[in-house]
Amino acid sequence: MADEARILEINDLFSGYGEIEVLKGVSLEIENGEIASIIGANGAGKSTLLKTVFGLVKASHGSVVFDGQDIANKRPTDILRLGLSYVPQGRCNFPAMSVNDNLEMGAYIRTDKEVKADIESMFERFPILEARKEVMAGNMSGGEQQILEMAMALLLHPKLIMIDEPSLGLAPQLVELVFKAIQRINADGTTTVMVEQNAKKALSVSDHGIVLVLGQIGFEGTGEEIANNEEVRRHYLGG
Amino acid sequence: MKRNLGLWRLMAFVAALSIVFGVVSCGTPAPAPEPEVVKETVVVKETVIVEVTPEPQEVIKETVVVKETVVVQATPEGPKEPIRIGTGQPLTGPVAWIGQYYNQGLTMAAEEINSEGGVLGHLVQIFPCDNEAVAEKALTCVRRLVDQDKVQMIIEMGSSSTTLAAMPLMEEYEVPFLAAIVSAPSITDNTGREGGNIWAFRSCAHDGMTLDPVAKYIIPQVDTISLIAWNSAAPREAAEELKQLLEAGGVEVLSVDYTEAGQADYRPVITRIKSLDPDGLWFSIVARDAAVFIRQWRELGMSEQKLFSGSNVVGYEFLEAIKDDPSLGEGITEATLYIPGLEPDFEERYLARWGTPADYIASAAHHSLRYVVATAAEMAVQDTGEVTPSSLRDALEKVSVEMPTFGLIEFDEYNQAHPDMAVMQIQNGEIVLLETISTE
């Protein structure tokens, strides 16, 4: 409880798949209430970092402290209960179920009675979903599905939401829509960590930028700093 | 730690499984009844268990018992070489019940012979071998029985296909073989004295002999007929042979179908037969399955047709299977070799010994050892002073013995015997003998 302002503290984290080590000693801190973007080249370990934090990939060394508790190698269900949600890369909804059912699944671990009301409030927050209430999730556009997935994650009222590649494969106007939604989520008080290919766009909305290089932290700073760093610009922002 | 826990769970699962069903099965009429009845023959009974379950502990215990019996019955020179009889049976798999009847029949015959002092002082030992009703396993059985168990003779191989497969090897190994129930005609096609396989004998009639009277019996009763047979060598052969005989007799055969052992649903086949509307049906399906078949036959409203069965359906096993509604079997007629009810004494002893009524297989197995082989062994001992495969074989050729139910057993030039057969019918839940036919 030393530092209330830090919601997530990662310390010297190692993890990987079998004998292949992907993260090689990552340490970083996320402040309460900020939007942080993690950028980096393909294979730098961005998604692995999120998966390790969420307990989907086993950490071989290091600690992950979330809201004062060490969550390294806890099961995803337990991490969810602590208030950390995760929206993975690619489609992570249930394509043959309606939007409404998908949202119910989002609140799977909740047992209270307010789920219905919360779903209604999600519809208010994201009117685009309300119109599609009974549509099969798989029949919606990519952007709508991305928003649905974020809404599913938000139903648990997380303190921190991690979003992996929200703009992947979306048309430009939809990217805009998704980033607006992310800003909205953050404005409502949820700390947000995202991994983005579209680094420029991500950094422009971020308070905090982190550049991963080959499984280690390469650069770190405010969104603006990172976006203006010469080396980062050359390598990761396309000039 | 984690690993041990998993192993524990697995063991606990297996244990729980066996306990649950072990406990439950205790409360039921046990499938293989333990000899609890007839205390006075207990000594002899145990001697036979030696050969059936070769567990070291028991062997030691049993050997003592054997010696005791021998001492009681022994001739002046002391104990004599036992006569070792092998048999190959399906003891596992879907038709393992066949092997169970064989073993019970043979075991009982050996017990009876031994309780009377054996064959001129030679006790009889039975060596069963599981051939799983698979031809190649039957060959392995022959090898094991002859080379490992050193048997002097083999009785039965359980089914026609296993018998046909094993016969050349038995000939090569020069061990006499007696077929007691298998009915494919081809088994005794190449046997006997004129250059054939001299080592194989058959005490039961084959389908070629029985089908002729069956056809003669059926022909006057129907104009059209459908045939159904179990998809195994002998029933299949029989169905084809019968078809020809019936057609030669002017009966129109509307359909021939084959079913698998343990088949669940006969309705599609029955529905087709129904649409053909034959006057009669001949079916060769083993008794347990036949009960299922006949239930579905009746369910579809088939009552007009005359029913002829071909694989010992008319017997206690079938009656037991339909005991909830005996009218299901009404009118089923069969020409067969075993006549239930003619030997109440044997049937009673069998029921007391095993807890199940004797069926055709059990009685044929019992009688072939008790009468045919025992007689041959006696002749062998008298002629040569010992029981060897060849002395047994030579004696079998000359055997002439009256066998209860089956009549006079003498082997012809093809080593084939010609027992009598009977036409029986199920009437009011009872088996009734209609007539006796000679197969000469």
Binding site: - | P168, S186, E237
Partner: protein, 337 residues
């Protein structure tokens, strides 16, 4: 365990093993025992050919016994109908099985993983039904019986009429040796390494330019060829061919040998085959109980010994002082060289 190490120790061991195998029937008088040895050989050869498919390209085919059975039928039918000699039957049976395999590999190899397994299972069941019901060709449940005893002639020099069990034993030994050499060559060559790369990671193998389909088909067809030839030998030994040779019980037996023995390792597969043909004959337990034990063993093996018996044996072997000395001397030699 590297290949460049001292070669004379394994070589000497192999020669010694071969001498023992050749000498066995001279010592053993019991024909039944020799028969068990023959069956062990048949299963070894069959399991090795199966391992080419399962262990080396990762295709869990459930139709392998089908090729064995088809080979047996081909030989049996040829021998009984046209009285063709053993060697011809052996080769023709192999080709018939391989031909069938290449025909079915065409559609089946497009299926991935479990679909392939279930597809081949369906195929195996259909072929068994055909063998059961097409009496004119196969003899149905009566089997094709009366297959001739092999007679091997080579000009005026050799005229070997195979009749006693020890004759059959030596014939088996020759065939097994050929199969072992063939499998060893295949699995240690460049082709073999490609096989392994396919099993380990299909996508990676494909990315590095391996023509997956070609190699899979190759392994599948060669495996079928060996199985068919072994089937032909078996038909000539048992003098018959029956539908049971095609049954799923065979598949189960082979799977047990492979997975308990050590899938993908020749030594493990041979060990498995010996364990499950030779040993049970001398454990005189009721066959049903034996099956329960098999099932439990299979479960334990798949759970606790992912590398099979072979993995366990290798582990123990490495712990032995003798093995350590051998290994270190090997390394020294290597350094010296």
């Amino acid at each position: 365990m590297t290949s460049a190490r001292n070669l004379w120790i394994p070589a000497a061991l192999s020669v010694a093993l071969l001498m023992v195998l050749i000498g066995l029937p001279l010592v053993i008088e019991n024909r039944y025992l020799v028969h068990i040895l023959i069956m062990t050989g048949v299963y070894c050869a069959l399991a090795l050919s199966y391992d080419l498919v399962v262990g080396h390209v990762g295709l869990l085919s459930l139709a392998h016994p089908t090729f064995f059975g088809v080979g047996a039928y081909a030989a049996a039918i040829l021998s009984t109908r046209v009285a063709s000699p053993f060697l011809v039957n052996l080769v023709v049976a192999g080709f018939v099985a391989a031909g069938l395999a290449s025909v079915v590999s065409f559609p089946f190899l497009r299926l991935a993983g479990a679909s392939f397994a279930i597809g081949t299972l369906g195929f195996a069941l259909i072929i068994q039904l055909v063998a059961n019901n097409e009496v004119w060709l196969t003899g149905g449940t009566d089997c094709t019986i009366g297959v001739a005893r092999p007679r091997l002639t080579l000009g005026p020099w050799i005229d070997w009429r195979v009749s006693s069990v020890s004759d059959y034993y030596y014939l088996m030994l020759i065939i097994l040796l050929l199969v072992v050499v063939l499998c060893w060559r295949l699995t240690t060559s460049r082709v073999g390494r490609t096989f392994i790369s396919i099993r380990e990671d299909e996508i990676l193998a494909m990315a590095s330019g391996v023509n997956l389909l070609k190699y899979k088909t190759f392994a599948f067809v060669v495996g079928a060829f060996i199985a068919g030839s072994v089937g032909a030998y078996y038909a000539h030994y048992s003098t018959l061919a029956c539908p049971e040779a095609l049954s799923s019980y065979m598949t189960i037996a082979l799977l047990i040998m492979l997975f308990v023995g050590g899938v993908g390792r020749m030594r493990g597969v041979v060990l498995g085959a010996i364990m499950f043909t030779f040993v049970p004959e001398f454990l005189r337990i009721a066959p049903t109980l034996r099956m329960v034990i098999y099932g439990v063993l299979l479960l334990l093996a798949i759970r606790y010994m992912p590398e099979g018996l072979d993995g366990v044996v290798t582990k123990w072997w490495r712990k032995l002082p003798l093995a350590r000395t051998l290994a270190s001397s090997g390394e020294n030699n290597q350094k010296a060289g």
